[in-house]
Symmetry: C2
Amino acid sequence: MTKKPLILVTNDDGITAPGIRALIDVMKDLGDVLVVAPDSPQSATGHAITINNTLYLNKVSKPNAAVTEYSCSGTPVDSVKFAVVEILKRKPDLLVSGINHGSNSSINVIYSGTMSAAVEGGIEGIPSVGFSLLDYDWNADFEQVKPFVKKIALEVLQKGVPDGTVLNVNFPKLKQKDIKGIRICRQAKAIWQEKFDKRSTPQGKDYYWLTGEFVNLEHGEDTDEWALQNGYVSVVPVQFDMTAHHAIPQLNTWNL
Amino acid sequence: MTKKPLILVTNDDGITAPGIRALIDVMKDLGDVLVVAPDSPQSATGHAITINNTLYLNKVSKPNAAVTEYSCSGTPVDSVKFAVVEILKRKPDLLVSGINHGSNSSINVIYSGTMSAAVEGGIEGIPSVGFSLLDYDWNADFEQVKPFVKKIALEVLQKGVPDGTVLNVNFPKLKQKDIKGIRICRQAKAIWQEKFDKRSTPQGKDYYWLTGEFVNLEHGEDTDEWALQNGYVSVVPVQFDMTAHHAIPQLNTWNL
């Protein structure tokens, strides 16, 4: 690639999150960077878009800043749409989302705003990657994973991603020297066992907090959960054709 | 099945929407019905869950009503979690979501709150179906599709759904007599070509409305778009293992 690549950066923790700052740091060495990210945390927003509300877009970087940045009042997916439709003059060569504060491995991919932004990029034909670190701490140590972010981004800039997919990359919470490498994985079967924490308002009205415990239901060495528990970076190719093609013949035997 | 089936009903247009009323009408002849649905419209919320805000749950049916109904301040997925974790004593035999006011065929499945509620049911091991009618009108004629809803629900109560899938059912906007039948389909490849409609507040600040045009990128007779355009009800089995298994060998050749 002779021309400097154009890289779109977004996330779901909001534009001020340390995770997106780490991602911008890596990307600005690889190409021209545009940041469009939510103006407030949007964790667990899934593939939500804003159609019943107005949207605001604000340029937050200074006029001569090395990286142009916009904040958006909507969701991660809204941010990607704003970048592609309203701001950029050509399709980016790469979309990166994250680095998320917390895991998006296994079933979390379904709830994740970080990954939905990447999926939106994929739908729009942009090679896209979501990055997440297994550390929910606002001050998580993103320095440790920067070399892996760079390696994966360079590979995608060179090769693209397989047709109809985006990459879901998760990092274990380890020092760089203790990370054993990168593994291509499948999504482990897992669930959240939820609890609702019931409380009362000062006025005596019941309300709830959604909480839960993550339960991994399988332990195959080809799963993302296994990789992460064993010190590897997990890379899962995620598709947005949600058809269960293998189930079609079975359903065709139904009496409908 | 000798025992009366237990049926959970939800949607994303909110508990007062005519679409969910039609669905309840059909289901109350098939089993014991619990309704838990958002207290306000939640279209296009995707698989969002509420973790940074409090949640309210209100019983809205009268004490001796035939059907017990709760409204929830959260998303469709929150509603399913409330029903399963907080209200029901046993796992339902069927979850139905809808009937959505508007299409959830092809790529819309990704954005849809209706389908995310069904997917959440699937993740929790409940045979689950999302129903949508290709008519955005609040006063759409749901009577026309009730016989098809009943037929599909009875089949799922008898047979379950294929492992790891939920069903995405879409109805064409036609009179019952003009609907040609039910077809098992795959998700058509399609995109939304978005536009942002830029306006100014009375105070002179720019804001946007997200709008767009649906573009079907393929016309195979095995797709949901083809079925709907040709007068059939489309049924797509949707999976929540989002791994692109076919892409794993290709990624394993990468230099990571």
